[in-house]
């Protein structure tokens, strides 16, 4: 990848960092729109695979971004994505912590949390949808997809087990 492309990835992540209201996962549709649809740095299936890799490993969900960056542009891509995602929101957090803790019961802050809640939910649903499109195409994949939702919704089983079952079923050639 060229320096110019790394710069584009970095600046796009700078923006995503400030838009990450519902966590890093909520910004994935925008990341997908940029790297897959607009730039074509990787395919939709590769994008879903990157997210799956990040979910399979322990650590903050934010690490999805450097993995996408890595698959798109190697180690420089990973570092550009990570630095972009961290800089703006971390700076703001360190500056605004005291401001926020004094005002968290005010009408403005409560209105912000309440107003953003349904939007966050909508973002997560679109993320799930966009991730499923390239892979959920066979009966077994549909079963894995729906089974995971049911398992996570109804039980307290660790997501690790669901991912392991998915990996085994896929490696066996059923998906």
């Amino acid at each position: 990848v060229s320096l110019h492309e790394l710069w584009l990835l970095f600046t796009h992540c700078l923006m995503l960092s400030l838009l990450a209201i519902g966590g890093a996962i909520g910004t994935l549709p925008e990341m997908q729109r940029f790297v897959v649809v607009e730039r074509g740095w990787l395919g939709a299936a590769d994008f879903t695979a990157s997210v799956a890799l990040a979910q399979a490993a322990p650590g903050p969900n934010l690490l999805v971004m450097p993995v996408v960056g890595y698959v798109a542009g190697g180690l420089p891509g990973a570092l550009a994505a990570l630095a972009g995602m961290l800089l703006p929101s971390s700076t703001l957090t360190l500056v605004a912590t005291r401001w926020g803790s004094q005002r968290r019961e005010t009408r403005g802050v409560r209105a912000f949390i309440a107003g953003m809640a349904p939007v966050t939910l909508g973002l997560l649903l679109s993320t799930g949808w966009l991730l499923s499109v390239p892979v959920v195409r066979t009966p077994v994949a549909v079963l894995l997809f729906a089974g995971t939702i049911a398992l996570m919704w109804g039980t307290r089983v660790s997501p690790m087990w669901a991912i392991a079952v998915g990996a085994v079923a896929g490696a066996a050639g059923w998906v």
Partner: protein, 189 residues
């Protein structure tokens, strides 16, 4: 209080504590962080953790990242914040990039490609489940259930279907919802 509040002795201790949390956190570190910081280490009281989390949720950026920064800052200022953040990120980043490198080299092996497709289907399911778990909290939302439902579907359609830019949707839809919530919160009083 029976037990005096405990605290980390050095930024190094913060670093190792957050590394431990990160490596235990499959599918999100936040639940582990609460268990570790409040129950095991006793660095924060339950209400202190809730306070840190609620501020972290208002600020942009992933919640667990904000929580690590605020907890580190609380004990050792900027040095502590950076130590906690580095602890949270370093080990898992190395691990996940190793996996990504393996994937890039082995993507042509049919078993690997298949395994990733299977894991992808599960990953998509995990995100949908994450969304569904937020549903109960919407029942108490001052916007009311109908408005919440409409706003959720409108967001999903605009982002997932029409592929509108996130900034526009957050500003337009999110902004309108915040204004409506502001108004409703005022009427209730």
């Amino acid at each position: 209080m029976l037990n005096p509040p405990r605290r980390p002795q050095s930024p190094r201790e913060l670093f190792t504590a957050f590394t431990r949390m990160a490596l235990m956190g499959f599918g999100g570190v936040l639940p582990v962080a609460q268990r570790e910081l409040v129950d095991r280490l006793g660095w924060l009281q339950p209400q202190e953790f809730a306070e840190v989390l609620s501020v972290g949720q208002v600020l942009p950026g992933p919640n667990i990242i904000n929580v690590s920064l605020m907890v580190g800052d609380r004990f050792f200022g900027l040095r502590g914040a950076l130590a906690a953040l580095a602890g949270l990120l370093c080990a898992p980043l190395a691990l996940v990039l190793l996996l990504a490198a393996l994937y890039k080299n082995l993507a042509d092996v049919p078993q690997v490609a298949g395994a990733l497709r299977g894991m992808g289907a599960v990953a998509a399911g995990l995100v949908v489940a994450m969304a569904l778990k937020l549903l109960p909290s919407l029942a108490r939302n001052p916007l009311g259930r109908v408005t919440c439902g409409v706003a959720t579907l409108a967001t999903a359609a605009a982002i997932g279907g029409l592929r509108w830019p996130l900034a526009a949707v957050l500003l337009g839809l999110g902004g309108s919802c915040c204004l409506l919530a502001w108004w409703r919160l005022g009427v209730k009083r």
